[in-house]
């Protein structure tokens, strides 16, 4: 029974990792940009939710709703003003610029909020749980997992059933020919990064609700997200969810064996999947 419980906890944790990863996957899928500041942007989102909640007295869930449009605007501006300038045939400039951005965000948060760890005050729901067959699961992990499914479903709908999604896919396929259709790739990229930041804000809410956060935890979140994206197969959203689940379950299993093995087990699972499927579980046909 303990193993079933561990498996379910791992799957639910995987939902959080899928949320970390979905924005990264979206941006990579559309513009082949690896945003090394993604983890720090999630942490920034958590501080924004905390700040908005403190300033307005709103519950973190409502503060997060306020943060969503602000983070969209931040993503849009970041892409328009900075990242669009470094995108090109050479993959190194965007890596360097987002790495620098990661350092800048961490230090700005350190100056603004100190190194003390914080937590989003979500109230009594944190301790609530419900029986699910033979095991009991926490309400928040369940809501987190449900949100991950909704986000992936939403992004898939956007990608495959809207004019914007069509433009995303066309630009990803061939940005030059897309311009012949009247599409402006830079604007498309700006909207995509805006949407990625909306997803990052949702991830930030559950990150801050689940455990303490401080300005330095971004890079580790990026690592989990990156592993989830690669396990899933670059650019595939359902693959990203699967990748998150693999990391989550591996971490939970590792922790059940020995609490010190939690993080290591996640990384080992990542390496194991890559040994068997170097292109990930669900690679895109044209990559």
């Amino acid at each position: 029974m303990i193993w079933l419980d561990t498996l379910i906890q791992g799957i639910l944790l995987g939902g959080l990792y899928a949320l970390f990863a979905a924005g990264l996957s979206l941006v990579f899928g559309i513009m082949r940009l690896v945003n090394l500041a993604h983890g720090d942007l999630i942490v920034l989102g958590a501080y924004l939710i905390l700040g908005l909640g403190t300033a307005t007295g709103l519950h973190p869930f409502l503060a997060a709703a306020l943060a969503l449009p602000l983070m969209f605007a931040l993503g849009w501006a970041l892409q328009s003003a900075l990242l669009n300038r470094v995108l090109g045939d050479d993959i190194l400039p965007p890596l360097l610029v987002t790495f620098g951005l990661s350092v800048v965000i961490q230090n700005a948060l350190l100056m603004g909020f100190s190194a003390d760890s914080r937590k989003l005050p979500i109230g009594p729901i944190e301790a609530q749980s419900l029986p699910l067959g033979p095991v009991t699961v926490g309400a928040m992990p369940l809501i987190t997992f449900g949100s991950a499914i909704v986000v992936i479903l939403g992004l898939n709908w956007l990608f495959y059933h809207t004019a914007l999604g069509r433009a995303f896919r066309a630009t990803s396929d061939d940005p030059v020919t897309a311009q012949l259709m009247g599409i402006r790739p830079r604007r498309i990229f700006a909207v995509a990064t805006g949407i990625a930041m909306v997803v990052a804000t949702i991830a930030a809410l559950y990150l801050g609700a689940r455990a303490n956060f401080d300005p330095a935890i971004g890079p580790a979140r990026l690592l989990y997200a990156f592993e989830a994206v690669i396990i899933g197969g670059l650019g595939s959203l359902w693959g990203t969810l699967a990748g998150g689940l693999v990391i989550g379950v591996a971490q939970a299993m590792g922790a059940a064996i020995n609490p010190e093995w939690q993080i290591l087990a996640g990384h080992l699972a990542f390496v194991a999947v890559l040994l068997v499927r170097p292109r990930g579980l669900f690679p895109r046909a044209n990559d």
């Binding site: 069509r166 061939d174 030059v176 311009q179 012949l180």
Partner: protein, 237 residues
């Protein structure tokens, strides 16, 4: 009266390499103009320069008197110039119908071309509407590429190497759509290596060589020898 599309002194470079040397060309409303020439003559560069994909270094491109040569590609499409690119360039992630719909991405308001009218023009595309665009045969892909360009309801349609790699029967099937396209109010420039096909559809033919127009005229006025000489660069002088 000035022409619908008037190109004068057009010069374009790829880095240090000059690909076009002062090209002059005019397209009257309702006309079809053909550009012929061997590989490397600058035909595709000319198409890319007109649509804003290749950078114009000198000269002008006037569409109804408005300068296009400094505009970005999406603005040129919105102004009314659409292109069927060489090699068709369908989007592999999009179905046939999505490839057609994306042609109308920047379109404002209604126009002659709708999905329904395109499916009437190329009925096979209706059957294949849910297939990935790139899963179709070459001829069907070419139909999608033409339909995609028409969905913007262009004033001028540029077709780059429509017949490349296609069987003669398929080429005839594709060119059979031209009268309908012209009746819809679209004027056409075709780039062709198939001289016979070009002479058949065009009101006016230009032959290019090494980035210059070396011969121009109405098909009826051009002798086979003159075209042959211009195409292969033979100089009898």
């Amino acid at each position: 009266m000035s022409a619908l599309l008037e190109i004068s002194g057009l010069t374009a470079h790829y880095g240090d390499f000059q690909a076009l040397f002062g090209v002059d060309l005019a397209l009257e409303a309702g006309q079809t103009v053909a550009i012929i020439g061997a590989n490397g003559a600058g035909k595709t560069t000319l198409m890319r320069a007109i649509t804003g994909i290749a950078k114009v270094t000198a000269g002008s491109i006037l569409l109804n008197g408005a300068e296009m040569s400094r505009r970005a590609a999406p603005d040129i499409l919105t102004a009314g110039i659409a292109m069927v690119p060489e090699g068709r360039k369908l989007f592999p992630s999009l179905t046939v119908e999505e490839n057609l719909r994306i042609g109308a991405h920047a379109r404002q308001g209604n126009g002659f071309w709708t999905l329904e009218r395109l499916y009437t023009l190329f009925p096979i595309l209706r059957e294949r509407r849910d297939h990935p665009g790139t899963a179709l045969s070459g001829g069907q892909q070419q139909m999608v590429a033409i339909g995609r360009a028409l969905m913007s309801n262009p004033t001028v349609l540029l077709c780059d190497e429509l017949s490349l790699g296609l069987a003669p029967v398929v080429i005839r099937e594709i060119y059979a759509a031209f009268p309908t396209i012209r009746e819809s109010g679209t004027s056409i420039i075709v780039v062709e290596q198939d001289i016979g096909q070009a002479l058949k559809v065009a009101d006016h033919v230009h032959c290019m060589m090494e980035g210059r127009v070396t011969l121009s005229g109405r098909p009826a006025d051009l002798s086979r020898e003159a075209i042959h000489d211009a195409y292969f660069g033979v100089n009898h002088a």
